[in-house]
């Protein structure tokens, strides 16, 4: 393998920055919504910014916040958010195949900014250009990750200001289910995922009175059980199934375009 003196390839980094521009359209508004919703839920500036910079995963941030607002203990909120983010283990595994020769500190750095966009754009590029030098592969990924994460954090800040400026009459509460529905609807592809969703929603509705977010956990578990029960080995259709969370719009768009 050709050795590059530079670990992070500049050319790849620049390509990554450019490739990330279109997906900012999906990242930006979602960051804005999180900032506004978190502020209305009672988080102060430091808390909202700490959460958005440490987690960088919109759906899980909103989910954890919602669970906490419903009065569940912090541990249940953490579990809920972590479960929403479990798909990233899949991204991590898939990316690791292309990064096996990369120094461990670059992989630790990459993990900071692994989300739907950085994964989807990078994996598409790696498959298109299998011969690209490792440094440029790393550069491309970090270019995408840096720009998308930076805009995510910045737009959260804008959302905080906006949320504080909104008149009382406007109920931001409606934005939360609307955003979640918009995230979830594109994932409902095929009969099985529709079944999983229907079972999960029904069980969580039946269990709505239970404390500590138990209804959510029961609903999700029932949905998963239904999914596994209905699961039959099917022909593989591509490298990985990419469920999208709010930031996953580009993933779905990319899948469609293929």
């Amino acid at each position: 393998m050709a050795q590059d003196a530079r670990i992070i390839g500049r050319r790849g980094f620049r390509s990554g920055l450019l490739a990330a521009i279109p997906v900012l359209l999906a990242v930006g508004p979602f960051g804005l919504i999180f900032g506004a919703v978190a502020t209305e839920a009672g988080l102060d500036l430091a808390q909202t910014m700490a959460m958005t910079s440490l987690v960088i995963a919109g759906a899980s941030q909103l989910a954890a916040l919602q669970v906490l607002s419903d009065g569940a203990p912090a541990i249940v909120a953490v579990l809920t958010g972590a479960v929403v983010n479990l798909r990233m283990a899949m991204y991590s595994a898939s990316l690791a195949l292309h990064w096996s020769d990369a120094p461990v500190w670059t992989r630790a750095l990459a993990a900071l900014t692994l989300h739907d966009q950085s994964y989807a754009l990078s994996i598409a590029r790696y498959e298109r250009r299998p011969d690209e030098p490792l440094a440029d592969r790393i550069g491309f990924y970090l270019g995408v990750g840096l720009l998308t994460s930076g805009v995510w954090v910045a737009m959260t800040l804008v959302g905080i200001r906006l949320g504080a400026a909104l008149p009382e009459a406007i109920d931001l509460g409606v934005i939360v289910p609307v955003t979640f529905i918009a995230i979830a609807a594109p994932m409902l592809r095929g009969r099985r995922s529709a079944l999983v969703a229907a079972v999960a929603a029904s069980v969580s509705l039946l269990a709505v009175g239970l404390p500590f977010g138990l209804g959510l956990m029961l609903g999700a578990a029932a949905g998963l059980a239904a999914g596994f029960a209905a699961d039959r080995p099917a022909p593989k259709t591509g490298p990985a199934v990419l469920p999208c969370d709010g930031s996953g719009e580009a993933v779905c768009a990319g899948e469609r375009a293929r």
């Binding site: 988080l43 899980s60 953490v78 289910p177 918009a182 409902l188 229907a198 029904s202």
Partner: protein, 107 residues
């Protein structure tokens, strides 16, 4: 109002858990293949968790089921299913909410 302790615990916990998930195969488990069954299971997770989270918010929520909220949610669902685009779903939901407020004479 949520207590500061609960908020900071949640932020720290979710930050650490999410980083651990992200670093899992890139770092500690480097080079290991994900078994097919686990991969399929992971793919289902969001489709199970999000509806379980959404359903109570749509019909109940803290403010109770109101027609404007239902209209907003229905618009987001239809647009999301048709366009498969998150942003389109959000915008449709907001438009549906605004329309419902106008129709009911609230604005």
């Amino acid at each position: 109002m949520i207590s500061d302790t609960a908020i900071w615990s949640m932020i720290a916990g979710l930050g650490i858990a999410t980083y651990a998930i992200r670093f899992s195969f890139l770092g500690l488990l480097a080079g290991r293949e994900v078994p097919e069954s686990v991969r399929r299971g992971l793919a289902f997770v969001p489709a199970a968790v999000l509806p379980a989270l959404i359903a109570p918010m749509v019909v109940g929520g803290q403010s109770g089921a109101d027609p404007e909220r239902l209209a907003a949610c229905a618009a987001a669902l239809v647009a999301g299913l048709l366009t498969r685009n998150v942003l389109a779903g959000i915008l449709a939901g907001i438009a549906g909410y605004a329309l419902a407020l106008v129709v009911s004479g609230q604005i």
